[in-house]
């Protein structure tokens, strides 16, 4: 499935945080390229900038310098509104703690991104059914998050991330809150999405066992990739 077309390309990206009088540099002139169809695990100690990297790629945080190209668009200059529209069609997010809406059923949670499309109610329901089937959670469609196990909730969260058929999945510690067996199931689903559905997956993880599911592993420390084994650029 993979090709040489870059799905993610960061060129000289710098990112700083201001904490009181202190400016903390997260990245300085960071370069990165991830090709379409890749499955990349980003590892590193706490505070190394893993989540910030994910936020920059997903257009939910801004850089201070450099260029960010994702899914064929340069996103670092887009407005908040343009970024919202871009995210809705190009990126699916999977979080450590699932972040499902507690008052909505699994199907309604999965349907949320589709409210931003012009699909009819019937079409939306069809997409939701398909997404839930892909993650083996169709039998939980009418359940509220509190009625589901952690693994089931994460499956629903994955279904929500893929329901609008984005090209890129950004996963922030997707198995961090799960036991080993459940975590393996979730990682297998991500692998299937990458291998069979052509999704490019960028996964932040602490867990070396989880990273083994990826095609490549990037190690991030103090804002730099310390190991670039298999890096495409």
């Amino acid at each position: 499935m993979s090709s040489d077309i870059a799905m993610v390309r960061l060129v000289g990206v710098s990112k700083h945080y201001v904490k009181g009088n202190e400016t903390i540099a997260v990245f300085e002139h960071l370069d990165l390229s991830i090709v379409q169809g890749d499955f990349v695990a980003v590892m590193g100690p706490s505070g190394s900038g893993k989540t910030t990297l994910l936020h920059l790629i997903g257009g939910i945080d801004g850089r201070d310098a450099g260029e960010i190209h994702v899914a064929g668009a340069r996103i670092d200059g887009l407005s908040e509104w343009q970024l919202a529209r871009w995210r809705a069609t190009n990126v699916g997010f999977i979080f450590q703690f699932y972040n499902l809406m507690p008052m909505l059923t699994a199907a309604q949670n999965v349907e949320l991104p589709l409210l931003l499309t012009r699909l009819s109610g019937h079409e939306r329901r069809r997409h939701v059914e398909t997404a839930l089937k892909v993650v083996h959670a169709a039998d939980r469609a009418t359940h509220l998050p509190r009625e589901m196990s952690a693994g089931q909730q994460q499956r629903v969260a994955i279904a929500r991330a893929i329901v609008s058929d984005p090209k890129l999945l950004l996963c922030d510690e997707p198995t961090g809150d799960l036991d080993r067996v459940t975590g393996d199931h979730i990682l297998t689903i991500l692998q299937v999405l990458n291998r069979d559905f052509g999704k490019t997956v960028v996964m932040v993880t602490h867990d070396p066992a989880a990273a083994k599911y990826a095609k490549r592993v990037l190690h991030l420390d103090k804002g730099r990739f310390t190991e670039k084994t298999g890096l495409a650029a």
Partner: protein, 386 residues
């Protein structure tokens, strides 16, 4: 699912809290509905008063009489188109507690002048002119006492007596009349002044007040001045004003009711505004992470603003409509007992419209700041908060 489902689910995610907010809104709107309706009912008299209808009363105060001769003299004044006179009877039925509005009038001129307000069937008009002891009764009054045409009803006066010493006059109901406009109260009766004046033991050849209509409202000032100048320096000086102004002056006797209503409603709304505003802000703050997730999924800041605002507006409408409904039930239940004091008390369309405007305003005011905060919320910050 659509945005409204999302709004509704968010609103009722903590049911007890949602219902407590609804109850506080409901209470404020019920108070508003009841007080505004009472105030409106008190003010109906002002609305009934035509601007081209003038009232001439004794300058001392309106309870003092005027000579009946003034009636003809007023008729002769330039600019006066129609004129009649009325006298307060001070009536009650069977028991002094059953007070009635009973007026002695000159039939032809009365029916001509008030024909725009009340609808009297032609046969009743003829009978009223013909029958010396005949009386016309408003539909509300007839309904209340179960009177019908042909009934002979004894009405006593707490002011006047007959030359025989009796305080009771017998009237034959010759017809009923209905209101031509919603605001017109028909809980009163009229009878012939001639019968009254012939039989009463005192105040002969005196009347209560004169009502007249000018050719146009632009003539009012000139006619008012002319009438009062005509009777200046006489034993019975007059004070003339529009019917509307007179009604307002009458209501003002009870104090500044408008201010009183505004203060109570204002206090109820201010309290409710603080409770609901604070709770809405808290409720949205608790959802910071979820708002961050929605934005991550692609919901724009504007859409988030609309969702939060819709939630506070929906809350205001649920509570507000229930409150007005409760006020309506209350008014319907007490209306029968208030018919003598406030015959036209009801939740008028203007009260409903004001209520709806207040609901919109309340929803906007309580939801705007939380909605704006939600709109401006940075995703990275939202996701970082637990």
């Amino acid at each position: 699912m659509n945005d409204l489902t999302l709004v509704r689910k968010n609103l009722f995610r903590k049911r007890l809290r949602a219902w407590l907010m609804i109850v506080s809104i409901l209470t404020a709107f019920a108070i508003f509905g009841v007080l505004a309706s009472f105030w409106q009912a008190l003010n109906v008299g002002q609305d009934v008063g035509n601007t081209d209808r003038l009232i001439v009363v004794n300058k001392i105060n309106f309870t003092q009489d005027l000579p009946v001769s003034y009636f003809d003299r007023v008729r002769e004044i330039a600019g006066v188109r129609q004129v009649t006179h009325l006298s307060w009877f001070g009536g009650y039925y069977q028991d002094p507690k059953n007070l009635l509005v009973v007026l002695a009038v000159e039939p032809a001129s009365y029916m001509e002048l008030y024909g725009n307000d009340i609808d009297i069937p032609p046969e009743a008009q003829q009978a009223f002119k013909r029958e010396r002891t005949g009386a016309l009764v408003g539909e509300d009054m007839a309904k209340k006492w179960g009177w019908k045409i042909g009934d002979r009803v004894p009405i006593a006066s707490n002011i006047f007596s007959q030359r025989s010493g009796s305080h009771t006059w017998d009237f034959t109901i010759v017809g009923t009349f209905s209101a031509r406009r919603l605001q017109v109260n028909t809980n009163f009766m009229v009878f012939q002044y001639a019968y009254f004046d012939e039989t009463r033991s005192f105040s002969k050849d005196f009347i209560g007040w004169i009502a007249l209509r000018t050719g146009s409202p632009s003539l009012n000032d000139r006619v008012i001045k002319a009438i009062d100048q005509t009777f200046a320096n006489s034993p019975y000086e007059t004070a003339t004003d529009t019917e509307k102004a007179l009604n307002m002056a009458f209501i003002a006797q009870f104090g500044n009711i408008a201010l009183f209503v505004k203060l109570i409603v204002g206090a109820a709304f201010a309290t409710m505004l603080m409770i609901v505003g604070n709770t809405m802000a808290l409720s949205v703050r608790e959802r910071t992470r979820e708002i961050g997730v929605l934005k991550t999924l692609g919901f724009s800041g504007g859409r988030i603003l609309r969702l939060v605002l819709s939630e506070s507006i929906l809350l205001a409408f649920i509570g507000g409509l229930m409150g007005l409904g409760l006020a309506m039930l209350f008014i319907v239940s007490v209306r029968g007992r208030l018919i003598d004091i406030l015959p036209s008390v009801s939740i008028a369309p203007t009260v409903m419209l004001t209520g709806v405007a207040l609901m919109l305003g309340l929803g906007f005011v309580t939801g705007f700041i939380p909605a704006l905060s939600a709109m401006r919320l940075k995703i990275a910050v939202a996701l970082g908060r637990s």
